[in-house]
Symmetry: C2
Subunit: 337 residues, 2 copies
């Protein structure tokens, strides 16, 4: 059962547990400050495939298999897989999941997908439908850059606000049975927010207001505040968007700075890795949640955290047509047992 706490905010009454999780990343992500936390670092950007699109699918597939293996599960044990990605028609996910034979619900939340999958998965399990589901997502630098910006061989200049799409994937197994695991205790579904940013090279600024909208709403609905959390984590606002987000929250009366982290800012060493404002992509938040934060919850070092993945819900064509960039942020409250 879930109970409404207010607009889009729901408390999960009967436990939904995070029984397993895995993260797989590419070479550059493995060389960054978070490199040691991932289950696997693949140095071949093609993941042994012929195209980058096939590579991203293979990476996502391997991540899901890793998460299943860690819980001694097979695809037959999974009732539903929820997945999505950035690539047109979400093919990284649909081609990834072809061999699994598991009932599939496709999502599009751009870089908010990891949180969206955890929200839908935990609400579906709360209804009694199924015992176990998987939420997964991925992004790949080479598939995203050529789709959203320029052909890689063009060597386009990147402004300082630009972020670096991570080659990374995260997968989480949710169930209703594995006690003594981190659990999803509440969720808050994002609203589409658009303050008129039109610069596709400044995604962090476009997404920061969406994150602030969701978090402020969550605090108002739940009666909680930053002091209730060991960590408040955004997916890929990057350094510029993250600073803006903390400033907006401060204006709303909430000081998030003591416990605030952004996976995009954590992923790379901007000085030595030439990644400007930080990492981005569905896999950025997904892999750092699964590689870094969930193990900290599992070990008891984090007792209560918020994971808030943000997504820019635009396409290159709409930006070319002069449209601004609508964004969204979905929130998941994760609690240690």
């Amino acid at each position: 059962m879930a109970v409404s706490l207010g607009r889009g905010a729901f408390q999960i009454k009967e436990p939904v547990y995070i029984t397993s999780y895995a993260a797989v990343v590419g070479k550059k992500e493995g060389e960054g400050p978070m490199g040691k936390c991932f289950d696997r670092v693949e140095t071949d950007s093609y993941f042994g495939q012929k195209t980058w699109e096939q590579a991203e699918s293979r990476m996502q597939q391997e991540t899901i298999y890793h998460a299943l293996e860690k819980a001694a599960l097979s695809p037959d044990d999974i009732d539903i897989i929820l997945a999505g990605d950035l690539i047109n028609q979400c093919t990284s996910s649909t081609y990834s999941l072809r061999p699994f034979g598991v009932p599939f619900l496709g999502l599009f939340g751009a870089c908010s997908t990891m949180a969206e999958g955890l929200i839908i998965g935990s609400l579906i399990l709360s209804s009694g439908a199924g015992k176990r589901c998987v939420a997964a997502t991925s992004s790949h630098f080479s598939t995203a850059e050529r789709q959203f910006r320029f052909p890689l061989s063009y060597g386009g200049q990147r402004p300082p606000t630009a972020q670096w799409t991570c080659t990374a994937s995260g997968a989480v197994v949710l169930d209703t049975q594995t006690e003594n695991s981190p659990r999803i205790s509440s969720v808050c579904i994002g609203k589409i927010t658009d303050l008129g940013v039109t610069d596709a090279n400044n995604m962090g600024a476009a997404m920061a207001p969406a994150a602030a909208d969701t978090l402020t709403r969550w605090f108002k609905c739940s009666g909680k505040s930053p002091e209730n959390y060991d960590a408040i984590v955004t997916g890929d606002l990057g350094k510029i968007g993250g600073k803006l987000f903390a400033e907006i929250m401060m204006k709303q009366g909430y000081d998030v700075n003591p416990c605030y982290h952004d996976c995009g800012a954590m992923m790379f060493d901007a000085e030595t890795q030439d990644t400007h404002a930080g990492g981005s992509g569905c896999g950025c938040g997904g892999s750092i949640l699964c590689g870094h934060f969930l193990p900290l919850v599992k070990s008891g070092k984090i007792k209560r955290m918020l994971f808030m993945a943000t997504g820019a819900l635009m396409s290159p064509m709409l930006v070319q047509q002069g449209e601004s960039i609508p964004s969204i942020a979905h929130l998941v409250e994760i609690t240690g047992e």
Copy 2:
């Protein structure tokens, strides 16, 4: 509460009602045999906007407003909107929903989106999270053709197996309170199915095995058969795919022919409207469900039906890379009160 009946099949125990629905279509769809069943037929393919992408967003937006108005509801009465479409990064939905201010979960299921939204919406309401949600989808001939096939001005030849993407949108309001309305009694989530079809001009053939897989699984899980239904409806298999689907079902021991309908085959008069194998697109099944079938359930002429929307989960790039077309079909059982 929902109860598992078998792999991906769930019975909705406490009623989820279809309290309102609406369909808006374009000129050609309005001139076809179903023309009179829609809430609105717009003769301007731009829907008063500057681009076709904006037109599709506007059409979807109007459809949702129609559905809300028919139930005397405003966006503030809606807890969650679930929507998706065919366009890259689902922008027809995200730009459509910007002004609503309603918590949003983005879906990608290609032409299966109407059924996917109804499934997730009814399972979420079954969990107790929220009282009311909207599931919506759309497609537009001009946005889809130039994205998936050729620029319209190129005037490419269409083979006889090709389908005509409908300019159409459907929206459904689900709630847990409006008795004496059609209700969603069970759902069955599709698996990704790929029998190796590589011809993007023969989507019906690619999707038919997915529809047969889901329906066969549903019959086995539920113990039901075609005789239990007044109508078994697929979204957009078209004439060729629909025939293939019925043949596969017959080989599995189920004769669906006495009650089988395909929204793609129903939408146009192929002889006079030059639409080859029939209509397609997310809005095809969505608009005929909302314009034709739900009113028949509401009036008691249909007591029990299955709506099964099929989706081809491919992109032009993956087809160009030589990949075959994975497909999916999601099933919703709708029962009159």
